[in-house]
């Protein structure tokens, strides 16, 4: 057989995830409408196609080596809005940022937002993202009332909640089809400010007790842990809870009384494109974490914060993923069920003892599990930390943590993953076989595929 040589053309682009690891070349198509999307999927060639949004998944979920990647950001129209019922219908490439710009002045907010608003609606559904309100509101997919899915055969189906295809698609990493549009239920808000409570917590046990005691009293709740603190201070953290501030709660002469629904995020300059790696070692990150903990208020209630400052502080710095240098970084996000607190303590202790240079990691309590077959949340504790891949022995260390997580009945987040072993996956996601079976009937030739699907044999 003759080896085909790939002719490079302008459409081909080496893509990687937000963590900037494992780049792969794909032909990028940017459909502007349904017909172009259908054409791109039907004509994608033997190595298949996958949809990509704003590239915020850390790993290889939205790359497809040697195949086609559909850049969905061209499908960026808000199609319909019902301001009385709080429903919006929009195309999959609309970002949460765009939704906030458009909807906040009308008094509506997205039902779930992750740590960045630069994700598309399609990506949010495919990764079934969660936010700090998961304990009350569940994941993003729960607020989708319908979606349009372009499947491998070129057909466009309307998929409704409660059907197997819907549950496979929410959290399905784009492997069931290309999401073209979705209808979302929105959250009414009176102002674009948050009423925030912050407190310092000296150690992990106190933190877990505080979270368990009164998480339900707030819509949003999460803590950030200093994973470099050791000994008695292991797990020291800053606990932040917030609620949308009602108009009446604004102080009498507060300037937000005149424009309560203003949305003006601040953008700082981006870091230069070539930051040397290894700048963020144990000493520099340790110093940052120390200052961060010391300057956090011991206990503060009723502070008002803007939405971007509360939800998306990192969005203020474009391309912040460059700070780890060209070797890149990864996010390790796992959950262990309630009752497995000992495993969580052991993992936190192992990370602290190892001295991984991680900026404050996020710890959160999840609510009920979501219906998506490959959705990440389950009732338990979730911890997420960013680590540069250049740390010696990190791969083996995280493999060992995977064993603990899987052994405790927990799992790692697939949309953030760039390194888990395919063998550990079945224990983490018990409905994986159902997912594979559905894919096999819906898409027998595996037209919709990604580097992540190849790596984990999904």
């Amino acid at each position: 057989m003759a080896v085909e040589t790939h002719v490079l053309d302008d459409d081909c682009e080496a893509l990687s995830g937000w963590g900037r690891t494992a780049p792969a070349l794909a032909r990028v198509r940017r459909p502007r409408g349904h017909a172009e999307a259908v054409e791109a999927v039907l004509g994608c060639g033997p190595r298949g196609a996958v949809a990509r949004g704003l590239g915020r998944a850390y790993g290889d979920a939205a790359q497809n080596a040697g195949g086609t990647v559909l850049d969905m950001t061209g499908l960026d129209r808000i199609l319909a809005l019902d301001t009385t019922a709080g429903l919006v219908v929009c195309e999959a490439g609309v970002s949460l940022h765009r939704l906030m710009e458009a909807l906040l002045p009308l008094g509506w907010f997205v039902p779930v937002t992750p740590g960045t608003r630069y994700v598309t609606v399609g990506g949010a559904i495919a990764a079934d993202i969660h936010g700090r309100n998961h304990h009350g509101s569940g994941s993003f997919g729960r607020h989708v009332t319908a979606l349009e899915l372009l499947t491998a055969d070129g057909g466009i189906r309307t998929v409704l909640p409660g059907t197997p295809l819907f549950d496979a698609t929410t959290g399905g990493l784009g492997l069931t089809g290309v999401i073209l549009s979705a209808a979302l239920r929105l959250l009414p808000v009176e102002t674009s400010l948050m009423r925030v409570e912050t407190e310092r917590v000296p150690d992990l046990d106190t933190l877990m007790a505080r979270l368990t005691a009164d998480d339900h009293a707030h819509r949003y709740s999460a803590a950030r842990i200093d994973l470099l603190a050791r000994g008695a201070a292991t797990g020291r953290s800053v606990l932040t809870r917030g609620d949308h501030a009602p108009y009446d709660a604004l102080p009498r002469h507060h300037r937000a009384r005149r424009a309560p629904l203003a949305f003006r995020p601040v953008r700082l300059p981006a870091p230069p494109p070539h930051v040397p790696g290894g700048l963020l070692g144990r000493a520099s990150v340790g110093l940052f974490n120390e200052l961060w903990y010391r300057t956090a208020p011991r206990a503060a209630t009723g502070r008002l914060q803007s939405l971007p400052a509360f939800f998306h502080p990192l969005d203020g710095v474009p391309h912040w993923n460059r700070i780890h240098g060209r070797e890149g970084f990864l996010q390790y996000r796992f959950v262990v069920p309630y009752g497995q607190e000992e495993t969580l303590r052991r993992i936190v202790r192992r990370i602290a003892d190892r001295g991984c240079p991680s900026f404050p990691a996020v710890l959160k309590r999840f609510g009920a599990a979501d219906p998506g077959w490959l959705s990440f949340p389950l009732p338990g504790w979730t911890l997420a930390l960013d680590l540069p891949t250049g740390l010696p022995g990190l791969g083996r260390f995280l493999d060992a943590l995977d064993e603990e997580v899987a052994g405790a009945g927990g799992r790692v987040h697939l949309a953030e993953d760039s390194r888990v072993r395919p063998e550990t996956l079945a224990a983490m996601y018990p409905r994986l076989d159902e997912f594979r079976a559905l894919r096999a009937t819906l898409d027998p030739r595996s037209v919709l595929t990604s580097d992540l699907a190849r790596r984990l044999r999904l």
């Binding site: 790939h6 494992a22 792969a24 040697g66 791969g395």
Partner: protein, 251 residues
């Protein structure tokens, strides 16, 4: 697919009985590698090498491959890529020859050059094309410090490695931005079967050390790797030693 640390899931070793090749395979099997293709001339040694890797839990297949038979490369190697993605190709074949004998036996000398250079050019181009078509992967080429500056004691081998090194560097530049990564590995004196009985040079290393350097280079997506790393500085100096002096050096 490679993971965030550059660890491949499938590996093709050209020169399936190479000690460096096998040491690298063992190291990568301990990480993520599940499928290994060993390409080499069919021999009991190749079967034994495959068995030793199977014992580590990998799915190992052997494929007949002769560096000198360049006409067969496209068909033989192309077939491997049709069976699934290859995340990493390790070009590990090469012969040292016997400098003293080869100087008076041009046919033997040409065989060294053909194995190390033309064979590698042919196999390298075939694999590069296939990697490019799949849009990802690493081509790791085992060069040598001997190619950096030719010595009186092994200039036939050294010149073949010099050609290979230049070829691999150019190929790496040609494939820049295609998702395919070419890494040139330049080990110093490696204690192995190939060098058994030879006087050991300074900064000698082992196949295991070369394997460790390859694993690190994959993670960093390095373009050039020296083993041991100190050779980079040493060879930078050696490159500039004047010829009359270099001739007299006891190396």
């Amino acid at each position: 697919m490679k993971d965030a640390f550059g660890a491949p899931q499938s590996l093709l070793v050209l020169g399936g009985t190479s000690e460096i090749g096998l040491a690298t395979a063992r190291r990568l099997i301990a990480r993520r590698t599940r499928t290994v293709w060993l390409a080499g001339r069919p021999s009991p040694a190749l079967t034994a090498a495959a068995d030793s890797l199977r014992a580590l839990g990998a799915d190992v297949r052997t494929v007949p491959f002769d560096a000198l038979d360049t006409a067969s490369h496209e068909e033989r190697l192309g077939k491997i890529f049709t069976e699934g993605d290859i995340d990493m190709v390790l070009l590990a074949f090469g012969v040292l020859g016997d400098q003293a004998r080869d100087e008076s036996d041009p046919v033997a000398a040409v065989r060294v050059a053909q194995t190390n250079y033309t064979g590698a050019v042919s196999a390298g181009l075939v694999c590069a094309g296939a990697l490019q078509a799949q849009g990802h992967g690493s081509l790791v080429v085992l060069s040598s410090v001997a190619g950096e500056r030719a010595r009186r004691a092994d200039f036939i081998y050294g010149s073949s490695k010099a050609g290979l090194d230049a070829f691999a560097q150019g190929l790496g530049d040609a494939l820049h931005g295609t998702g395919v990564h070419v890494m040139v590995v330049r080990p110093g004196f490696v204690r192995s079967r190939m060098t058994a009985g030879l006087a050991e040079a300074p900064l000698a290393t082992t196949p295991e050390a070369v394997a460790a350097a390859i694993e690190l280079g994959l993670r960093r997506r390095s373009e050039t790797v020296w083993v041991p790393g100190a050779l980079r500085m040493v060879m930078a100096a050696v490159r500039h030693v004047p010829r009359p002096l270099f001739r007299r050096l006891p190396v």
